[in-house]
């Protein structure tokens, strides 16, 4: 097979064109939002939400509602409950997330098993991008538009909150509202990504491109742009591997992401040095 065929051939089939569109949209939005998740140290929460939405999807299947609606509601509930449990002085945010992730996720699996929808489990876990329909593409497109609008209106404010919460509050911004906007965006992006790579692989799409971008960028918005581009590119390359090597699309995309992060780490390895801030940061953590 010629190189041109290798590139062009997959575009011949309708389901692959839809899959490419889905991968580009979800990769770009997850990559961009993942930068906030990464820098605000919310990785475990992102991992948690990407699992607990399986409960939302299972309940939506049971009640005949759209999967996306169930996913977004459970994602919001996860974020809210995590905050509520972590608000107890005896339990940390880490513990709160560690409680909700497996229990709500298991609840979803139990609902699927009891209601006889167990066959849907594997596509929820590992994604089913080759079966993407119009509705999925519309959801992914709406999420991408929402991200662009929110970044356009409040991008610099969201960055300020991520960098220095106390100052953002002192500047007069309603930090809780900005947090809610960000978490809602993450929730809908993750729910859209459920179709592309599946629940248990979403963390790869959400955290991998931002990690790679962080390793090569020194300022925030270039990092967001690069992570977004990398997310889309990894989706594209992953789908080519799926087509040509007959491996699952979700795993293929995540393995491409991992390769990119590895390359970024190698290219940045020469520049890594002990930051002057490490002592300070650790002091704050102890406090």
């Amino acid at each position: 097979m010629s190189a041109v065929d290798w590139v062009v051939e997959p575009w011949g089939s309708g389901f692959m064109r839809r899959a490419f569109a889905e991968a580009l949209l979800c990769g770009a939005t997850c990559g961009a939002l993942g930068c906030f998740v990464l820098l605000r140290r919310l990785s475990f929460l992102g991992e948690s939400i990407s699992h607990t939405i399986v409960l939302g999807a299972a309940l939506a299947l049971l009640l005949g509602l759209p999967l996306g609606l169930g996913g977004v509601l459970i994602a919001a509930a996860t974020a809210g409950l995590t905050g509520a449990i972590a608000g107890d002085r005896r339990l940390s945010a880490d513990t709160a997330t560690g409680i909700l992730l497996p229990t709500l996720f298991a609840g979803g699996i139990a609902v699927l098993a009891v209601t006889g929808s167990a066959p849907r489990l594997e596509e929820l876990l590992f994604g089913s991008i080759l079966g993407v329909g119009e509705g999925d593409l519309i959801l992914a497109g709406l999420v991408a538009v929402a991200v662009l609008v929110v970044f356009g209106v409040a991008g610099k404010e969201l960055a300020l909150v991520a960098f220095d919460r106390a100052a953002a509050r002192a500047f007069g911004y309603r930090v809780a509202l900005l947090d809610a906007v960000l978490l809602t965006l993450v929730a809908v992006a993750v729910t859209a990504g459920l179709r592309a790579v599946g629940s248990i692989l979403l963390a790869g799409l959400l955290l991998g491109p931002p990690l790679a971008a962080r390793l090569v960028c020194r300022s925030f918005w270039p990092m967001v742009a690069l992570a977004s581009g990398l997310g889309a590119a990894c989706g594209l390359v992953g789908l080519y591997l799926t087509w040509h090597l007959a491996i699952g699309a979700g795993p293929a995309i995540v393995l491409v992401v991992a390769t990119v992060v590895g390359l970024a780490a190698l290219s940045g390895a020469g520049r890594i040095r002990a930051p002057r801030g490490s002592r300070l940061a650790r002091g704050a953590a102890v406090h």
């Binding site: 475990f44 229990t103 699996i109 248990i200 795993p251």
Partner: protein, 276 residues
């Protein structure tokens, strides 16, 4: 319900679960107090590709494969946390997605067969062999023995990590030993509960115990007791409703936490009203 207890496979699962509750409950307390829940979740997930490789290579076997994967993962994550740009769990999150993707690809490459993916992820009542029960006994004994030695140091350094100053090397050893023990116990629990939900048993009973008591010794006891109780209830529920045992146990632990958290919230509201 009770005649089901005659089934040897269920007896083996219950025995393994009860034996492992002791180290799971004890280790869980340190995981909650030292905020290692993300690590506990990730180390469970990391065993998945190890099990798949172990099943493919009879010379290795799933137990050794999973243990090697868990230990290698712990070491890699400790190294990545040293880079300030990667701190905060993002590398952990990516690594476990990669572990699952790699496991899934390897499983496809082997052409399915003996072990369906959901059995590896969520466990199976039928998967616990007599040899697994023996491994659980040995693993639990090792974990409890080492924990008994570590207990005083862990107690001191968990409440004040900076105290470790003069004994920094000792703190590093006990922290690493803790991670190794978690890996060992997680791997022992895999056949019954699977890699994706094993962290529920480490985190949730201990967090529930934290709500019940303010002191360490009762917390360790409560965590172990709750862990045993919830494991047994979860296994019987899995048998009754034909659920994957990992999912059933995780749901039961979640219900247990919900009940105690609600009771604790109600109690603290009462005490707040009383003196006012």
């Amino acid at each position: 319900m009770l005649e089901a207890l005659d089934a040897p496979y269920l007896q083996r699962a219950l025995l393994a679960g009860l034996v492992l509750s002791i180290p799971l409950g004890l280790l869980g307390c340190w995981i909650v107090l030292r905020e290692l829940a993300f690590f506990a979740h990730a180390v469970g997930v990391a065993t998945f590709p190890g099990v798949v490789v172990g099943l493919a290579l009879p010379a290795l076997g799933p137990f050794a494969g999973a243990l090697l994967a868990a230990l290698g993962f712990s070491a890699a994550i400790s190294a990545s946390e040293a880079d300030h740009r990667l701190r905060g769990g993002a590398a952990t999150g990516l690594a476990l997605a990669v572990a699952l993707a790699a496991g899934a690809v390897l499983l496809t490459a082997r052409g399915g067969g003996a072990a369906p993916v959901d059995r590896l992820l969520f466990g199976s009542l039928l998967a616990v062999s007599s040899a697994d029960v023996v491994l659980c006994l040995v693993g639990a004994a090792v974990a409890v023995g080492v924990l008994a030695v570590l207990l005083p140091r862990l107690a001191a350094t968990t409440f004040d990590r900076t105290w470790a100053g003069p004994a920094g090397a000792g703190e590093r050893v006990s922290a690493s030993a803790l991670l190794v023990l978690v890996s060992l116990v997680v791997v022992c629990a895999l056949p019954a509960v699977g890699s994706l939900l094993v962290s529920a048993l480490l985190v949730v009973p201990a967090a529930t115990a934290r709500l019940i008591t303010e002191r360490l010794a009762p917390m360790l006891a409560w965590a172990t007791g709750l862990c045993a109780l919830e494991t047994v209830a979860g296994l019987l529920l899995a048998r009754a409703l034909d659920l994957p045992p990992g999912a059933a146990i995780a749901v039961v632990t979640g219900l247990g936490f919900g009940v105690i958290a609600a009771a604790s919230a109600a109690a603290s509201r009462l005490t707040r009203v009383a003196p006012a």
